[in-house]
């Protein structure tokens, strides 16, 4: 029996940086969560995930906050700080789009393992910014997992014409694998609106 109603969401506003991502933005307050999820000794394939948040005019958003949540390379979710320190892997990262040229976000992590049979590997994403009254959830799938993606129940629940908005595109660079993943808040000349889930 529900006794209380959910507290309404409000926008994160333009000035979250020194509260939620102070180290990234150069404030004298230590971030609890950073864009670096994987330390050098973390097991698995080390990857970078980078992209932009684009508004309905196709312009990059310079004050968005992206949070990602993922299991380790074996598909195991991190359940304690001790486990995180032992594995050199945080499982959760946070990056604002206000510090890198071009308003990119960029995470250094490991490619996640699948969380269960029949699931493709994916990363949970929370997107929030000034002008967004309620944060949105999406997922990052991987372009080099075509066979697993084709079997994934959630990806298959997405209309075929919109699935590509959830798939990060792999590039092999001299610095290692980089996945490109832009988030489109709305349909625009720059691309189709990213699929957001009622998670």
């Amino acid at each position: 029996m529900t006794q209380h109603q959910q507290t309404p969401s409000q926008t994160v506003g333009p000035y979250f940086a020194y509260g939620l991502a102070p180290t990234q933005y150069g404030y004298d307050f230590k971030s609890l969560f950073t864009p670096v999820l994987a330390q050098p000794h973390a097991q698995g394939e080390h990857i970078r995930i980078t992209g932009r948040v684009l508004d309905g005019a196709g312009k990059p958003v310079n004050d968005a906050l992206i949070e990602i949540n993922q299991p380790d390379a074996n598909g195991q979710l991190i359940t304690s700080v001790e486990e995180s320190e032992r594995k050199g892997f945080a499982g959760f990262g946070r990056c604002g789009t206000g510090t890198l040229a071009g308003n990119y976000f960029s995470f250094d992590t490991v490619k996640p393992g699948a969380r269960g049979d029949g699931q493709a590997p994916f990363i949970d994403v929370c997107v929030t910014m000034r002008g967004l009254l309620v944060h949105t959830f999406t997922r990052i799938y991987f372009s080099d997992e075509a066979a697993a993606n084709a079997q994934d129940e959630v990806l298959n629940s997405v209309p075929a014409g919109r699935r590509a908005t959830l798939v990060a595109v792999r590039e092999n660079t001299n610095a290692g694998p980089v996945y490109r993943f832009d988030i489109h808040m709305q349909d625009s000349a720059a691309g189709k609106e990213t699929v957001f889930f009622d998670l």
Binding site: H4, P8, S9, Y15, F29, T79, L133, D198
Partner: protein
């Protein structure tokens, strides 16, 4: 929980939250999604939360009157803000991270982008965080934030507020909200406050409490927060 039920997270109740696009709040026009959100099953097995522990927090992380002091006390009216984080059934959300940020007493944010012509306070950052206790209770000490102008419409001013960010027990129970102060004359003019469903707006307004108020020190305000919680759902 029996064999034919599964632990799920109660859904986001859209009757409790603002719409993604609100004509009164201009920036939502190009930033709020226009397609309907796609439904997803809410099995809890894959719904972890970020990990953190008390040892990662600094001694004064929950005391904004002390955590950025350079050469003296921050200016303004000292306040104590406390409350309970609970789920919809009133169960406490324990050991959960509460992150807050706010303007200083003059209505100026430390953020480099804030160009409002009001003074910064060298002794005030305005960022804090703490974990809830076993009753779901959190407490911050701070300075009452000032109102400030913004560009949404002519003569637009934000009411006094503190930003709150929480996860709760699950990634999906995430909530970002704002706490307001009782009796603020700016509330009915604020598109963000007014963008929330009318019947729940007052739940975002803290209540003055003489019990929380500390004699000769600071005024007390109470702000309770309700997150989505776990529930047993019949498996079909």
């Amino acid at each position: 929980m029996t064999a034919d039920t599964v632990q799920t997270l109660s859904p986001r109740d859209w009757a409790c939250h603002p719409a993604h696009i609100d004509p009164g709040y201009k920036s939502t026009g190009l930033r709020g999604p226009k397609h309907a959100l796609l439904p997803m099953k809410h099995a809890l097995a894959e719904r972890n939360a970020p990990v953190y522990s008390a040892v990662q927090l600094g001694e004064f992380d929950n005391d904004m009157t002390k955590n950025a002091v350079m050469n003296g006390e921050p200016l303004g009216e000292r306040i104590i803000v406390t409350g309970r984080v609970m789920d919809e059934d009133g169960r406490p959300v324990k050991n959960t991270l509460v992150e807050v940020w706010q303007a200083n007493a003059a209505g100026r944010y430390v953020h480099k982008v804030d160009q409002h012509d009001a003074p910064l306070d060298p002794n005030f950052l305005g960022a804090g965080r703490c974990l809830t206790d076993n009753e779901g209770r959190y407490t911050f000490k701070s300075i009452k934030p000032g109102a400030y102008p913004w560009g949404n419409h002519p003569n637009a001013w934000r009411p006094n507020h503190i930003h709150f960010s929480l996860f709760g027990d699950y990634f999906a129970s995430r909530l970002i909200t704002q706490m307001y102060f009782p009796g603020d004359p700016l509330l009915p003019y604020d598109p963000m406050y007014m963008g929330a469903p009318e019947h729940l707006r007052e739940t975002m307004v803290s209540k003055f409490s003489l019990d929380v108020t500390q004699p000769d020190y600071a005024l007390g305000y109470v702000f309770d927060i309700v997150l989505r919680g776990a529930k047993a759902t019949r498996f079909e």
